[in-house]
Symmetry: C2
Subunit: 76 residues, 2 copies
Amino acid sequence: MKARVHVMLKDGVLDPQGEAVRHALGSLGFEGVNGVRQGKVIELDLADGTTEDQIAAMCEKLLANTVIESYRIETL
Amino acid sequence: MKARVHVMLKDGVLDPQGEAVRHALGSLGFEGVNGVRQGKVIELDLADGTTEDQIAAMCEKLLANTVIESYRIETL
């Protein structure tokens, strides 16, 4: 089975990487870009029968820093 | 309007970051993780009326390195 985990910085946490992208888009002439947030997406190829609880444990222990990041699990 | 851009390394391009995550998950005792690919997700807050073509241009010019990365645009 496959699963996709989206990890984003929580609202209110400063995102300098996203801010740099926003600035660069403006410099390239793209107008109307009001905000950019950058996160990670991790595609996992897992053994069949892996539960969502196990994937959540992977997120809590390794994939996301839950102090500043939130995660969302999507099974495919 | 909001849009989300997913940027992943193309198939066949070595992903050392994903490989490191796979190895780390194994070390933490998670079994059955056969493969991990890591990519980026970029959330854009755009002016209303921005077309998908304009977002694709942002991807081609800045957000993705289309030699080794593929991108997918999702408007929300």
